[in-house]
Amino acid sequence: MEFFEDWPRYFEVAINWSDRLLAGLWTTVQLTLFGGILAFVIAITLGLLAGSPNGWLRIPARILIEFFRGISLVVLLFWLMFVLPQIWMRNPDLPFRDLVYNTFLLGVIALGLNYGAYGAEAVRASLTTVASGQWEATTALSMSWPHKMRRVIFPQAWALMLPSLSNLWIHLLKGSAIAYIMPFVSDFTAELNQLRRPTDIWFSHAFVGLVVYFILALILTLFMQALEARAKHKLGRGPSLREILSPAPKAIPTEAPATARSAEPKNMAGPGGPSNSTPAGGVR
């Protein structure tokens, strides 16, 4: 078949463009990291406020969560990229001018707000999932709200919220591909798209894109699973970090792409090597 005979040639084109692709990849990694950090801070802050017994804190937090969770990321980006600058164009004396024209920063903010609002729900839900007996024990010991939250409730909720946060971070990674609509920001998807247009060879680019996003997602997953194993170990559940190196499949985020789900256990067996081939429950 002609299609398969041409494969090497297709990939040659992709390799020739590797500088641009790597630059795009670096942008995607930065968007994912900075967006993830901002989303995390927003998720924790809004999640704690939304779980507060004080209505003056809870209700504004709820409004923010519902708003940023409900709006489309693409529309939010359009507002930040194209509507916001109009205001500054007409009023050049307004402050934060540099910020408004920094499209990368706006992209990070959009990702952080959108996914942070989702994360806030995960944080709030995890806090309410901590056993009521734990809350009652802290009351019986007269702990203040910040004290019980910091020392007792949050460390337990942390183990519960990590799978959801892991899920959201992978969503954010893939959501960062929307950056290709942003002016002056060329992320990995944007570079792939650039490469597709003049060469008319779509297959290799699409394939490279598939694999690269999958590997990035896999790295995030492994990192978050390590955090989760550590958090659970601290609560006296599950052995230790060793568990993530075992070949038994762990709960994979349900909304992860099918490719990630089927390939995951195989890849996880890799770094473990033969010495770690005991099943997850194996005590050593």
Partner: protein, 277 residues
């Protein structure tokens, strides 16, 4: 379990001296608790004197545990007043108006109250020692050194001197409950609330836990409000037993009298059911 008739009375003679005229440590005035339309407690009035140990008995759903939870402020009081050492715990009566007390006053009052739960509720993210010293250091402001020394002596008292660095998940239920008792005692409570503390335990370790509580009762002057199904224990340690049914006090009195010669038919029926004769 010792039956009411054969148990030698260990009641201290001064039991009779507890009376309403003593300054009550806990005072319920017209207490009402409802969950929605469901009235659990109504027009409840009783007093517990300094150092007095009162056991609440009765069928499940009679409101016993709710009383403990109201004292610990785990439930919201929907009517009436609770006084701790003469001070209003949740609401005060100001010229006939029911006014909530300040959160600050409530918190201050609450540090005098300790509670041990049916499900232990140890903090799984902390070691045994950290569980015990957390509140004394951060709530009462004790020094780390004092709190640790006290924790070790309490662990000795509950028979777990070598478990300070263990995690709760590695302990048996009986051991966890003993740590929970040590944790409550580390706060030096004036009032100790015991909510069915042996109900979740294997039968063979129930006596261990009860013996520790007997010892606490013998060696300290802490006021205790106890909900239990262990009638032998109730008879040994309490100065007064209150029989509840449907949110009302059916009968109250000295344990010897309640357990051997109850006045009310309802009490007699309940006791014969739980004692199995």
């Amino acid at each position: 379990m010792p039956t009411p008739t054969d148990a030698a009375s260990t009641q201290p003679a001064e039991a009779a001296s507890f009376s309403a005229s003593d300054n009550p440590v806990i005072k319920f005035v017209d207490v009402e608790k409802r969950f929605g339309d469901n009235i659990v407690l109504k027009d409840l009035n009783f007093e517990v004197a300094q150092g007095e140990r009162v056991t609440l008995i009765g069928p499940s759903g009679s409101g016993k545990t709710t009383i403990l939870r109201l004292v610990m402020t785990l439930e919201e009081l929907t009517g009436g007043y609770i006084y701790i050492d003469g001070q209003p715990l949740t609401h005060e009566n100001r010229d006939g108006k029911r006014v909530p007390v300040s959160k600050k006053d409530q918190k201050k009052l609450r540090t005098r109250i300790g509670m041990v739960f049916q499900q232990f509720n140890l903090f799984p993210n902390m070691t045994v020692l950290q569980n015990i010293i957390e509140a004394p250091i951060h709530v009462l402001g004790q020094s780390q050194k004092d709190a640790i020394a006290k924790a070790h002596s309490l662990l000795e008292q509950v028979g777990l001197p070598d478990k300070a660095d263990a995690h709760p998940s590695s302990l048996s239920g009986g051991q966890q409950q003993r740590v929970a008792i040590a944790r409550a005692l580390a706060m030096d409570p004036e009032i100790l609330l015991l909510d069915e503390v042996t109900s979740a335990l294997d039968p063979e370790v129930v006596d261990d836990v009860l013996n520790i509580l007997r010892q606490v009762a013998d060696t300290t002057n802490v006021t205790m409000l106890i909900v239990t199904h262990e009638m032998g224990f109730a008879r040994d340690v309490s100065h007064k037993v209150m029989m509840f049914d449907g949110g009302h006090v059916v009968e109250e009195g000295h344990p010897d009298k309640i357990f051997t010669n109850p006045e009310q038919e309802r009490t007699r029926k309940f006791l014969s059911a739980v004692l199995g004769h």
